[in-house]
Every structure is written in C-alpha cells, then in structure tokens.
C-alpha cells in the first residue's frame, strides 16, 4: 500500500470512528443544549453499540406491560376515589395523606397513561404550563388540588376539581382497556420516565407544594425498571454491556432513594434531600437517561 493510500485509509477510519461515536450517542432522539450541558458529551460508547439488531419480537413483553399498566391504572382509580372522597368530605389531613400514594400509580404507568392529550392536560399539568400560572382557570387536576390542600391548607373550593379528577381517572381507566400499546411506547417509555425525573423531579419542581417529589421520583424509576425487567431476555442477547450498566445505575438510584424511605412505605419530604445525595442521584439518573435512550435502537423498535 502506498503512503498516500495509507493516509487516506486512516482518514476514512477516523471518519468512521467519529461518525459511529456520533451515531451511538443519538439513537432515536437527542437533546442538544446550547452550552455543554448535554449528557451525550460525557460518555463514549463502544462502536458495537451503534449497530442495531433486527427488530425483536416484543409480543410477550408488550402483553405483560399492558397488564402491568392496567393494574396500575386500576390501583390509581381506587386510590384516587379514596383521595377525592376525602377532599369532598372536607377531611384535609386525610386528603393530604392520600395525595402521594395515589399519584404513585399514575407516575408508574405514565408512558401509557399520558397517551391521551386531553386527560394529561386536565389531570397532571403543573401551574407553569398555563398562561396565568396558578390563577389560570384551566389549571386543574392533581397539582391544582395539591396547591389548595398543601399551600392554602384547606379543602374549600375543591369539590368541583376533585369531582373532575375522579371523572377523568375513570375515563382513563376505560380508555386504557381499549388502547393498544405500541412497541415505541413501552420501549421508549423506560427512557422517557427517567428523562422526566431528570427534568422535573430531581429539581423538586413536580410536587412543589406537598414536597412529595421523591414519591413520584421513585414511581417513575419503578415504572422504568419494570419495562427493563420485561425486556431483560432481549436486552441480554442484544447488548449485555448496556444492560449491565443500566442495572448498576438503577441500583445506585434505588440505594440513594432508599436512604429517604419512611416506615410507611413512602418517602421523606423533598427538602430533606441532602446535596451530596441529590448530586449522586442526578449523576446516576443522567447515565440512565443516556443508556435507556438506546433501548429503541438496540431492540430495533421504530
């Protein structure tokens, strides 16, 4: 081989490596920050991960996931009934106590449960998603009730909101029975749950009045980990290294959250989360978000 040929071959190899690294860090979608805040810049990925496999048969895990989601939504319905009953009865202490345990089921099943734009819009929006923020009449659902129950510390003026939330929950339960869960909803859901933790839970934005953010945080992690469990045999075959990293980061997150567990199965208030723990959780969540975003590519899910 002539020197010039070697040179050009080397250039092509470099190009190849660079392109593959670029590809592997952006499987289905990428978020680019204007500054160097994007997690994609921090990890390098073995070129082997860039190659996606042929689509894997996901019929069995999707059926199992559908039944998991149905169970969660059934639990959500039962617990939302108890919660809204307490609100309507004017029992503030009881209503406050039942708020977080009911939301757990929404947060676990969110990839499927939020598939309906109208219900997601009335049930689970935070105040800053509305023009008039907390005063906006369209601001309803869980977080409006959270504001009144935990900040204003009253059940006054909540009857209509509670009635609507229950009605929406029953409608969700009804629709969930007929909805087909698409592979991208399930496989992509593992990442979107963790991205949501990164976007809204780690910062304490989600449950700003009740400070029950860690309940939602843990429920998102549960929901994501369940998806990985159901896909484990396929992931083990397709990319065991990726699965190993995902397992290890889930373990780190669960250990971190475990420190804040309370005897009743719940979590301490978000304010109690210490800075070093928040940092550790954030690091593990960032790596998880990065790795889980590769699941769709790894399993060949459109």
């Amino acid at each position: 081989m002539k020197l010039s040929q070697i040179r050009s071959s080397l250039a092509v190899i470099c190009l190849l490596a660079a392109t593959m690294a670029g590809c592997s860090s952006s499987p289905t979608s990428t978020t680019e920050a204007p500054q160097a805040a994007a997690p994609t810049a921090t990890t390098t990925t073995a070129p082997a991960e860039a190659a996606s496999k042929a689509p894997v048969d996901l019929t069995a895990p999707i059926a199992a996931y559908k039944s998991y989601v149905a169970q969660e939504v059934d639990q959500l319905t039962i617990k939302t009934k108890a919660f809204t009953d307490a609100v309507i009865a004017g029992n503030l202490t009881q209503a406050q106590k039942l708020y977080a345990p009911a939301r757990v089921h929404w947060e676990r099943s969110e990839p499927a449960a939020e598939a309906f734009s109208d219900l997601d819009g009335t049930m689970d929006q935070r105040a800053d998603k509305f023009e008039l923020k907390e005063k906006d009449p369209k601001f309803t659902g869980w977080h409006r009730l959270e504001l009144i129950l935990f900040q204003d510390k009253t059940t006054k003026g909540t009857k209509e909101l509670a009635t609507q939330l229950m009605k929406d929950t029953l409608e969700l339960q009804k629709r969930m029975k007929t909805i087909a869960i698409e592979p991208k909803t399930m496989v992509g859901g593992a990442a979107s749950l963790i991205e949501e933790v990164a976007a809204n839970k780690i910062s304490g934005e989600e449950d700003r009045y009740s400070r029950t953010d860690l309940w939602d945080f843990a429920a998102n992690v549960d929901g994501s980990q369940r998806i990985v469990e159901l896909l484990r045999p396929m992931l083990q075959t397709a990319n065991p290294e990726l699965l190993k990293r995902v397992d290890s980061n889930f373990a780190k997150v669960n250990t971190g959250l475990g420190k804040y567990k309370t005897p009743d199965g719940g979590y301490q208030a978000y304010d109690k989360l210490k800075d070093p723990d928040r940092k550790d959780l954030k690091a593990a969540i960032t790596l998880l978000a990065e790795d889980l975003s590769k699941l769709r590519g790894t399993l060949g899910v459109e």
Binding site: V12, T28, F116, S117
Partner: protein, 120 residues
Amino acid sequence: MKVFSILILSAIVLSSCSSSQADDKTTQAATLPQTAISVGEKSCDKMELSVNSGKNIFIVTNTSTTAQVEWEIIEGVKVVEEVENLAPGFVKKLKANLKPGEYGMICGRKSSPRGKITVK
C-alpha cells in the same frame, strides 16, 4: 482501488448510522426529510405544516427564554409523537413515522391554540 475501498467504508459508516438512528436498514437517517420548527411559550413559528407520509425528522427548538415547552402531534385526543418539557434554548430531534391524514399540533402549552399538520 483506493476509491473503491473508501466507498465500501463509507457504506459501512452510513449503514451503521442508519441502523442506530432509523431502524430500517434500508433507510438512511441522513436522507430523511427534516422539518425545523420553533416553539415558543404559546405558539409555533409555523402553525400549519405539511409533510409527506412515512418517516420524518422534526427538529424542535424551544425559542422561549423562560418556559419549558411541549410540542405534540395529536390524532383526536391521542398523542402520536411528542417532545415534552423542552428546556429554554434546547433543541430536540424527533423521528416520526406518520400515516397520511390531518393531525393536530400542540405548540408551547397544551392549552395553547392548536396548529395543524397535514400528512400527504
């Protein structure tokens, strides 16, 4: 000979790219039609889009300086594709495989006036 080997390597590069980004081995991400859309707090720069059916890439930019925004493609009440909680100044690439029809487009907030996407 040299040109030939470069071509082969290029083909490998391209096919490995497409199999990680697009999943269909015959489709190359680089050749998918791209549509850029800027999302502000209450509206998109374009409130009506028209794209061809099949795979599309949407490059969604949050042009608001303060608000997280949403961008969704909806069919009736069902979310077909979405970019959620996009932070101010951030850009997200979304790949969508769309069937022909009329879709709604949520720009900024769920309560904002809806846009329209026509898929031919």
